[in-house]
Symmetry: C2
Subunit: 347 residues, 2 copies
DNA sequence: TTGTACGCGTTATCAT
DNA sequence: ATGATAACGCGTACAA
């Protein structure tokens, strides 16, 4: 039972393939009656054109890809919604693609560009430390969104980026905790080898400690588990890591989790240990996802301006695609939102 | 700057295209040295094979698609993880595809089958009321997972399904609330036109009322907003709908939300209105996602055996693909997990 | 307005 | 072990 093709339809209709093609693609040069007849036959036979063949021929497909590393993270789903609306508004279509944690997002992009004839790419999350050499192979404009600030050595002319200054915002968070009297602040962050936002946010933490003339207690730095069992930015990971922290017995009065999801996991571990939030320990997150506002206690967090960033991401990409602008690097301010999960302590 | 192709590589290497192809696809009939040389040139020139062309030519791609309607829903992300592991274990690769809420998942599947030469399809969520005529066009085996039980009229021989008995489980939930003394139970569910799990769960609610000889108070049936502003199964939707419920002023002592995410939205609306959960109003969810266990109060819910269902989904698909089994319809038992968000009342 | 024929980039078949 | 060549299914010049 071989699949039905455009040729079969043409034969069935007693017309040439190009006429069928014209009917399919709303081409003007076709007799309305012929078109209707063809579409009827297509429907009757359940013919569906083969996208691979189409992509192979088409010069440009007017589509833009969004590559997400960790689609499980609610922070990204918020952004995706806004970005998609913007893309469609401009008459383009969005190709949403999930990048596995072990995959290299640039490799995936390389394939996708050829396969789908993309016009542009948006990277959401993931690593920022890609080799210039590889990035240059990407023949269409691309923007890294919320993937952390790029290292200086990378040529800024070949890509765009949208981000908050993760290091600065992170130290803002920790400074806030110092300001309300906390001295022993644990941080839940990525492993030290991390080359993504995890590293930057840890840098900010260290900086804040330095600014306050205090030495970082390495026992209070909790490294997320990676790979095997659970997603990196998951409640479960936050939970497990916090339990480990408690087991260590090192004293602390506040936890800074580098994502809201992790913070929620931490809250649960604390609750299970009979530790109240915020009365006994303050917890602060990062991202500003909706869930944090729904949680109980409502989560204090460093909010990234999700919507503005998503909007800017799309705008920037299209401006570069149409040649209206050169590549840019936009840094957005974060906003500390103080809710119920943090509390001042008397020192 | 036209893209580099396999021909260019062949020319550069001074070999034929078929040799390059062999190098690319780990074909046995090739001299290791030649292969190494070719791969080297490929790397140097950053050549990436075009997947569209590959799919066009390849007879079978050994890939299975997972079509998810509402990838935002954490219930599905849990399932996806398990399913993916199973697919890879069998040496296949998973094509994860997000179906927009306005799209018809079967239409999308039809395109994808041709484009990617799929061997099988898994539908996660979405509608169950598809026409047999259209489903028959799908030339590969497929299984509907957690999309609700199918209507009897559909020919059961042409597809498989994995589900819990949504109607029965739902009435189990409502009966539980009756049993602990609640009489006026609100339900947050999909619009009445819904043809997905929303309808089935509402049916179960009505049935429980009938079993208790009580008339359903239509004012306590809250229909989710659809389309425009927010995802159907989102905390926000649960929040908004609950506010509307409160505004109506009809008395109730319990809320049954047909998904945990909605229940969390409801909790917030209640909290904002100064209503305590569970002291003043009990809230019960459905799904059994991790978040419910992390929430505060920990959510009472009807847990679907996510992992078992995901495993069964993959197993069943492969059994049908390999001809080991005929299509089947597996119904899993749900489990009522009583946590902190519900409380007995004295009538 | 319609049909014919070629080519997109790759893999499979068949020689060599 | 390697190379030439015919498909794969479609879009599109170009001819009619």
């Amino acid at each position: 039972m071989s699949e039905i093709t455009i040729k079969d339809i043409a034969k069935l209709c007693g017309v040439g393939v190009s006429t069928v093609s014209r009917a399919l693609n709303n081409h003007p040069d076709i007799n309305p009656e012929t078109k209707e007849m063809i579409l009827q036959v297509i429907k009757e036979n359940g013919f569906v054109p083969n996208n691979s063949a189409r992509n192979l021929k088409r010069v440009e497909a007017n589509s833009v890809a969004v590559l997400v590393k960790g689609i499980t993270n609610p922070f990204f789903t918020d952004m995706i919604e806004v970005i998609e609306a913007e893309i469609e508004k401009r008459g383009y279509s969005m190709v949403l693609h999930h990048v596995e944690s072990r995959e290299d997002e640039v490799d995936v992009a390389l394939e996708l560009v050829k396969e789908k004839r993309l016009r542009g790419i948006i990277f959401l999350g993931g690593e920022f430390a890609h080799s210039e050499e590889k990035l240059r192979l990407l023949s269409v404009p691309f923007v890294f969104s919320t993937a952390g600030t790029q290292p200086e050595k990378l040529n800024e002319k070949i890509y765009s980026s949208i981000s908050v200054d993760d290091k600065t915002e992170s130290s803002k968070v920790v400074n806030f905790l110092f300001d309300i009297g906390h001295k022993d602040i644990a941080i839940i962050t990525a492993k030290s080898e991390d080359r993504s936002v995890g590293k930057l946010r840890l840098d900010g933490y260290r900086e804040a400690y330095m600014q306050h003339g205090r030495k970082v207690e390495e026992n209070l730095i909790c490294a997320l588990h990676e790979g095997e069992q659970y997603e990196q930015f998951s409640m479960e990971n936050g939970y497990v890591v916090t339990k480990e922290l408690l087991a260590r017995g090192t004293k602390f009065t506040a936890i800074f989790a580098i994502s809201d999801v992790l913070a929620i996991g931490a809250c649960r571990a604390l609750r299970e240990a009979g530790i109240r939030v915020p009365q006994d320990v303050s917890v602060i997150g990062y991202d500003g996802i909706a869930l944090g506002d729904y949680y109980n206690p409502r989560l204090t967090t460093l909010k990234q301006p999700t919507k503005d960033m998503a909007l800017a991401t799309a705008n920037l990409l299209f401006d570069v695609m149409t040649g209206k602008k050169a590549h840019q690097h936009l840094v957005f301010p974060g906003e500390l939102i103080i809710r119920e999960s943090t509390k001042a302590v008397n020192g």
